[in-house]
Amino acid sequence: MKRPLRVVVAKIGLDGHDRGAKVIAAGFRDAGFEVIYTGIRQTPKKVAAIANQEDADVIAVSILSGAHNKLCGKLMELLKEQQADDIVCLVGGIIPNRDIEYLKSIGYAGVFTPGSELGDIVNFVKEKTKDRNQEYSL
């Protein structure tokens, strides 16, 4: 089954800057993804629910507020709860090295800091989702 992959691009937290998130969204679109853009000021709970209803293959979270460990942790917890932690999760933002390790350890496939190339992010996601054709029984 060849199909367009679906990415939820979400801004979690209270900051209102979403230029970065929009650039990412447009990048995925141009690479042939279906991007569900949620807008600013989302909660982890909302993002988990949206990912569930949109059958997301990928969640790209953008956080600039500094509260990434807490918010990303909460989101991953909720995804596990709804058995959706097979979704490929990414975080983008100003994230110090020690937190990058932490985020990866709790299940984030990729962490991207300012200056990351859009093309690299897209290729990374393509690679990670290569085998995402889960079996199913109707």
Partner: protein, 317 residues
């Protein structure tokens, strides 16, 4: 237990997976439709369309709030166009649909129209069926008005709502050009802005002109979706229209129109897929292109003779 049973037992995750499968996997799609077909037919299907940016998503959000208050279970399908270049899409309607928590009584799904001819109904029909089988009382389809999508949505929905806003000068022109006949209810959103009363008056005038002989005269309702104003009246009218359809014989006619449209779509898509596959795989396509290029035959006669040949030879499995 499989996805279909899980969905019928209330799993949103199963519903969500089934939508993806029905969109992308023809074999799965056939099996899904076959198995849910007998559990559908209970939802009120509402189409909401109108020019870009008039506030359709904001209105949907406000309507969901009102319907949830009335104890209804609601499904929303938000359709946006795909890029003709990359086939990708940014689906942004959810940005303005944040007023209600997603829970077992509210399911919102964004869809890309994938640029196909008649793309809207092709991608939407199965999702409507799935949401119906899931037990939603009302299913709302939001799509951007393009002049063509209005007709497509009017064939799919029980109630078609056209949203306009003041200052949308072309809106009125579009209406006069024929979109008017498809609207069962008209909304003038952004009634907090200048020119709203004028727009309402203008539309009422045109509506009366067109619907003078009908039993149902489309109401024209000023609304401030952002502030939930006018929404209660709007939802009352949605219910009135649904009751009107049920009490007249129009419900049956609408249902049969929808079935007719579906039949045509299935036939077209089946023929398209199979004929194109046949021509491409048998290596004939290049030959045909060459023949036409060399002016050995005109395209219409050549294609017709090929199609006839295929049909006579029972070209499909």
């Amino acid at each position: 237990m499989g996805l279909i049973d899980d969905m019928l037992n209330g799993s949103q995750r199963a519903l969500s997976r089934l939508i993806t499968l029905s969109e992308n996997d023809e074999e799965a799609r056939q099996e899904i439709i076959k198995r849910i077909f007998h559990s559908i037919g209970n939802a009120h299907i509402v189409g909401i369309t109108g020019p870009p940016g008039v506030g359709k998503s904001t209105t949907v959000d406000a309507v969901v709030t009102e319907l949830r208050g009335r104890g209804k279970r609601v499904g929303v399908i938000a359709v946006d166009p795909s890029s003709p270049f990359s086939q990708g899409a940014v689906l942004g309607d959810r940005i303005r649909m944040q007023g209600n928590d997603e829970n077992e009584n509210l399911f919102i799904r964004s869809l890309a129209s994938r640029g196909k001819l008649g793309g809207l109904s092709k991608v939407t029909n199965d999702v409507v069926k799935l949401l119906d089988a899931f037990g939603m009382d009302v299913i709302i389809i939001e799509t951007v008005g393009t002049g063509q999508s209005e007709y497509e949505i009017a064939k799919m929905a029980h109630t078609t709502v056209i949203v306009l806003s003041p200052g949308y000068g072309d809106g009125i022109q579009a209406i006069k050009a024929g979109i008017l006949e498809t609207g069962d209810i008209f909304i003038v959103n952004k009634a907090d802005m200048n020119g709203a009363a004028h727009a309402v008056k203008d539309i009422v005038g045109t509506v009366e002109f067109n619907f003078a002989v009908n039993e149902w005269t489309p109401p024209v309702i000023p609304v401030i979706a952002k502030k939930q104003e006018g929404i209660e009246i709007f939802v009352n009218e949605l219910e009135n229209h649904y009751n009107y359809l049920k009490e007249s014989n129009l419900m049956e006619k609408k249902s049969k129109d929808r079935i007719e449209q579906e039949i045509e779509e299935h036939i077209t898509s089946w023929i398209e897929t199979n004929v194109l596959n046949y021509i491409s795989h048998s290596g004939q396509k290049q030959k045909i292109i060459e023949q036409i290029y060399q002016k050995m035959d005109d395209p219409i006669s050549l294609i017709h003779s090929h199609i006839k040949e295929m049909i006579n030879g029972n070209f499909v499995k």
